[in-house]
């Protein structure tokens, strides 16, 4: 296993900047997820690491060796493609053996390693099948075995779960994580699915418009997003725009005066991000909170969501544990008045710039 370093990696297509000076260090045995909406440059970055795209500028270093200008077949990476990209005219065993054959591994040793790799992904009994005779999940596991059997320095995964159905996706996700941990693989994983990234990765890299928005653990990104984009992309956030009139005091455009943490944020234009699950809902208009009218109640099983129109015209979504029968909240429905409250330290002040969340306002 090797360390992977990207230094100010850049890719321009004409006047379009697909990847904008991305720098990243992936430690040995670490799993880093590149996360972002489609077109954010995450796949371009991965393909530059694999060598399928030449960068415009910057450096790629794998295990201490600068591979920026090496062709894909001279880099020590093992890639799993979104479409699996199995060789259709070769059996499962031949697919897995291909990389070893290219490395001129002796036949006896190659056979043993292929068998071991197939056992690793629990496909030993299907070695002589052709790819088209396998299910999607099985094909995916062949692709994993094929990439892993050569002991690559860096393991690359390009949306490997997006072609699987929901149940299988969960299974394969766990399987990938276990394999990665057991073998101590340095891994870069590209996905647009935040849940996938949160559950799999040691660290996440959130990208948008070719730029790295934030790098951190799932908890860091969730608890302290660096900007509005991250606040809306990792989990969900209510966003209230307004002004920080003085340290600890925020007034929204709708005229709502709110207490906020007195952190380093300087007074002026600001956006306030608030997670729906940090908001408590009480029936009726009461003191000690923000009063509004319920616009929509959505039952989601363990939790129930209340979309509440505040007096100032803003809308906030609160997500609370579904009330038990007998709880007065149970009887609250659209049109009823409710009181919302939350600890001041749950509010996070962010720069009001663009990069707004798609579901701003309502959520």
């Amino acid at each position: 296993m090797s360390e992977l370093v990207l230094e100010r990696l850049r890719k321009e297509y004409g006047s379009v900047v697909a990847v904008d000076d991305v720098s990243l260090r992936v430690a040995e045995g670490e799993l880093v997820a590149l996360l972002g909406p489609s077109g954010c440059g995450k796949t371009t970055t991965l393909r530059m690491i694999a060598g399928f795209i030449e960068p415009t500028a910057g450096r790629i270093v794998i295990g201490g060796r600068d591979v920026t200008w090496d062709p894909p077949y001279r880099r020590d990476t093992g890639m799993v493609f979104q479409s699996y990209a199995l060789f259709p005219h070769m059996t499962v065993a031949q697919n897995v053996a291909f990389g070893l054959e290219m490395r001129k591994v002796a036949r006896a040793e190659a056979e043993a390693r292929v068998r071991k790799a197939l056992e690793l992904v629990r496909l030993g009994q299907l070695a002589e099948r052709l790819p088209r005779q396998l299910s999607g999940g099985q094909q995916q596991r062949v692709a994993l075995a094929r990439a892993l059997v050569v002991n690559p320095g860096v393991f690359l995964l390009d949306e490997p779960l997006s072609n699987l159905d929901a149940k299988l996706r969960l299974e394969v996700r766990i399987e990938i994580r276990e394999l990665q941990k057991r073998l101590g693989l340095t891994t870069v994983f590209v996905t647009h699915d935040q849940e996938e990234a949160l559950t799999l990765a040691d660290r996440l890299v959130v990208m948008d418009h070719g730029v790295v928005q934030q790098v951190g653990t799932a908890e860091e990104l969730y608890e302290s997003p660096a900007n509005l984009f991250v606040a809306g992309f990792i989990g969900r956030s209510n966003v209230l725009r307004g002004r920080l009139v003085e340290r600890g005091r925020f007034i929204s455009r709708g005229g709502l005066a709110l207490a906020v943490p007195a952190d380093g944020f300087a007074p002026g234009e600001a956006a306030l991000a608030l997670r729906p699950e940090r908001i408590a809902v009480a029936p009726g208009a009461g003191p000690g909170g923000v009063v509004g009218r319920v616009a929509l109640v959505t039952y989601l099983g363990a939790v129930t969501e209340y979309r509440v129109a505040l007096d100032g015209g803003e809308t906030v979504t609160a997500s609370v544990p579904t009330p038990r029968p007998g709880d007065p909240l149970k009887r609250v429905s659209a049109g009823d008045a409710v009181t919302l409250s939350w600890p001041a330290e749950s509010c996070r002040l962010l720069a009001p710039g663009p990069g707004a969340t798609p579901d701003e306002g309502g959520l």
Binding site: A50, G51, F52, P71, P72, Y73, T77, G78, M79, F81, Q82, S83, A85, L86, F87, P88, H89, F98, G99, M102, R103, R146, A147, V150
Partner: protein, 291 residues
């Protein structure tokens, strides 16, 4: 249909005749469709069936009904040297034209699909060109062109094997370009990337991965090229020389003087040969999936 039947049952006996009528109508529609399909097939195959049938007629002047059946026309066909030699030459020309045409056509198709270069569209249209030029026109042009080249280089082209083969290569290229392009366009580039990712250089990737995946297109292109060349008459008419005629030209020559079932017998052999080729090819590559 079941829902309708259920509804009918629920609505009682009064509705039952209506459901029965609907079922009848559907059944009639199905039979009408089958009948039409059968007619279409018949229309396509009647000429073939007649040729095979007539080749067995006993009388020399073809007339209906047959007076009896015989195999002597086949005997005659095999006995006549112009058919034997024509068959041999046709096979020879078709094989060589197919080999050269498919190789170069496939290379052209690869360039068109995989590379972006100036004049790519023009190149593509040019390669499909022989398909739109009528055979007689192409043959005449080639004839004139060969004269020019002969004068220039002092090498014979008219009435020679290489002259004939060169002309037939023109027939095979449009088919090859179209069929091989189609198989390349549908090919997932990630599969080649996967090979390179596993350590295969460009040449190894082509040989081990790309080429085998092009196989269905190449097989179909070979088959159609062979048939195109083997059956061609118009272009060939102007390129054959004395003592060097292909089977279709030999058949035309024979027809000028005699109309007896021998010609049907020769055609039958041709039909059976090409049919067999198609069936054999279809065992390896499902033709219906490519063409």
């Amino acid at each position: 249909m079941t829902t309708r039947a259920l509804e009918a049952a629920r609505d009682g006996a009064a509705a039952a005749p209506a459901a029965g009528y609907a079922r009848l109508k559907r059944r009639a529609g199905r039979w009408a469709l089958r009948g039409l399909a059968g007619l279409a097939f018949l229309f396509i195959f009647i000429p073939v069936i007649f040729v095979l049938w007539i080749s067995l007629f006993q009388q020399q002047i073809v007339s209906f009904p047959p007076e009896g059946y015989t195999l002597r026309w086949y005997e005659n066909a095999f006995a006549r040297s112009e058919f034997r030699h024509g068959f041999g030459l046709s096979l020879q020309v078709a094989f060589i034209a197919m080999a050269i045409g498919v190789t170069s056509g496939a290379a052209g198709a690869y360039a068109i699909v995989r590379f972006r270069f100036p004049g790519r569209e023009t190149f593509n249209t040019l390669l499909l060109g022989p398909l739109v030029v009528p055979g007689i026109v192409a043959g005449t042009s080639l004839y004139v062109y060969y004269i020019m080249v002969e004068n220039l280089l002092d090498v014979d082209f008219r009435g020679t094997l290489h002259g004939l083969v060169l002309g037939h290569i023109l027939l095979t290229i449009p088919w090859t370009v179209r069929l091989v392009s189609a198989s390349l366009v549908g090919l997932d580039r990630a599969i080649e990337e996967a090979a390179m990712n596993l350590g295969a250089g460009p040449w190894t990737t082509f040989r081990r991965i790309t080429l085998p995946m092009m196989r269905p297109g190449l097989v179909a292109a070979s088959l159609f090229s062979f048939i195109q060349s083997f059956e061609n008459l118009e272009l060939t008419l102007l390129l054959v020389g004395p003592g060097r005629t292909t089977l279709p030209v030999a058949m035309l020559n024979y027809l000028e003087f005699r109309i007896d079932p021998t010609i049907a017998a020769v055609a039958s052999v041709q039909i059976v040969l090409i049919g067999a080729l198609m069936l054999i090819t279809d065992r390896f590559v499902k033709l219906s999936r490519i063409v």
